[in-house]
Symmetry: C2
Subunit: 212 residues, 2 copies
DNA sequence: TAGATTGTTAATCGATTAACAATC
DNA sequence: TAGATTGTTAATCGATTAACAATC
C-alpha cells in the first residue's frame, strides 16, 4: 500500500470528525463534496480528489454516502485497529493527554503513564497511576505497546526516544520542543506547538504596522 | 510589510530555538547554513533562502552571525513585543499551557485563566487563579489582551470565539477540535492535535501490511 | 591564490484550484 | 429531459531542491 502524502493526512481526520457526528445523529445519509468542503474549510474539488484517492465513489446528484466515507477513512488511517500507547512524562501536558477521552475514537488505548519524579510515582493522573521510568521497557514489551507519546523536557527526549525504540515501540509522538533521530523503521511525529504561536504573533505584528 | 508564508513561519521558530541556546552558551558566534540546516532538519539551501527573506546577510567562508539571526527572527515574529493573553478553559490542557514557562521567550504573558465550572473558579491552576467566564469581557478590555487561547470543549468554542473577538481580542489560538469563523481582522490558528495521531497510525498500518 | 560558503537562478516537485465532460 | 453533482484533466500556484556563479 502506498503511504499517503502529508497534506491529505491532515484533512482525512477532519472529514472523519465532522462526518462521524452526522453519521451518529443519522438524519442525513449522503453528503455532497461542497457541503463537506464548507464544513472542514477546504475547496470542494479537494474533497472529491481526496475521496477518490481513498477509493470512495460518490453518486452524481446525490453525493457520497456518509457511512462509506467514515469507514474508508477509519480503515485507511488505522482507527479501526486498537493501538496500545504509553505516555512518558506525567507533567500537565502528559496528564492532559492521559485523560483525554477522545482518543478511543482514533483507536488509541493508553496503557501506562511514566515519570521519574518520586513525588509523582504512584499518584493518579487522569485515569492512570504514574509508574517509574525503570518499568518502561518491561511494560512496553509485556503489553506490546506500539506508540509512545513523549511529553518530557527537551533535554531528555532524545535518550528516551532511543530507549523506546529499542524496547519495540514503532511510532513516537513527540511533544518536547526538540528534534531527534530514531532507528530505521520507527516513525516520529514532532508536534511543535509553539510554531502556531509564531504565526499568530507575526500576524499581530503585521496588523500593528499596517495601522501606522 | 508582507505577511510571510505559512511554511517559513514553521521554520523560523525552530531556527530561533536552536540558535538562542547557542547564543547563550556563546562559544560560537557564527553558524553556517549547513550546520543550522542539520540542527533543525531542513535543506541548507532552504536556510539560506529563509535568512535572505528576513533580511539577514551572511558572510562567505564564515556563515551567519548567530546574534543577528536571533534578533531578526525575534523582530519579525514579534517575540520582542509582549503580547498579553488569556486562556479560556481551565481543563488539563488549559492548565498545561497556563503553567508552561517557555512562553515568555516568545513574548507571551498569560494574564488570566477562565472557566465556567463553579468547582474550578477561585482555585489555582498553574500560576493562575481561575476566574469566572462572566469576567471575560471586562478583563480583556481592562488589560488590553490581544491573544486568546481556547482550550474548551468543541461545542462552546464558536460562541466563545465570537465573544472574544467582540471584546477586542485580535488573535485566537484554538485547541478545541473544531473550526469556526471569526470577524474580519481577527486571525485564528487551529491546532488540531489529533491530525498528528492520524499520520502515525497510518504509518503503523502501512508497516503492518508491508510485513504480510 | 585556493577554497569554503553565501546568494540566486533555474528546475523539479507537489499541492491546490479551475474548467468541464461524464453521469445519474 | 434538465439539472445537479461527480470525476478527471489541465492550469496555476507555491515550496523545495539542484546547480553554480559571486564573494570573502
Amino acid at each position: 500500500m502506498d503511504s499517503l502524502k502529508r497534506a491529505i493526512l491532515d484533512r482525512l481526520p477532519r472529514y472523519y470528525h465532522v462526518l462521524r457526528e452526522q453519521s451518529e445523529t443519522g438524519d442525513k445519509h449522503a453528503v455532497s463534496s461542497a457541503v463537506l468542503a464548507s464544513l472542514v474549510g477546504v475547496d470542494d474539488t479537494q474533497v472529491r480528489k481526496d475521496l477518490a484517492l481513498i477509493g470512495v465513489r460518490g453518486c452524481p446528484r446525490v453525493g457520497y454516502k456518509v457511512n462509506e466515507v467514515v469507514e474508508a477513512i477509519r480503515d485507511i488511517l488505522g482507527f479501526d485497529q486498537t493501538h496500545r500507547a504509553v505516555i512518558v512524562g506525567a507533567g500537565r501536558l502528559g496528564g492532559a493527554l492521559a485523560s483525554y477521552p477522545g482518543f478511543s475514537a482514533y483507536g488509541l488505548e493508553i496503557v501506562a503513564l511514566f515519570d521519574n519524579s518520586p513525588a509523582k510515582i504512584g499518584t493518579m493522573v487522569g485515569c492512570q497511576q504514574v509508574r517509574p521510568l525503570d518499568d518502561l521497557e518491561r511494560i512496553v514489551k509485556r503489553s506490546s505497546v506500539d506508540i509512545a507519546v513523549l511529553t518530557v523536557p527537551a533535554g531528555v527526549a532524545p535518550e528516551l526516544a532511543v530507549r523506546l525504540a529499542h524496547a519495540g515501540v514503532q511510532a513516537i509522538w513527540n511533544f518536547a520542543p526538540t528534534r531527534f533521530a530514531v532507528p530505521e523503521g520507527v516513525s516520529v511525529r514532532h508536534e511543535q506547538i509553539s510554531g502556531g504561536l509564531a504565526e499568530l504573533t507575526h500576524h499581530l505584528r503585521c496588523a500593528i504596522r499596517d495601522n501606522d
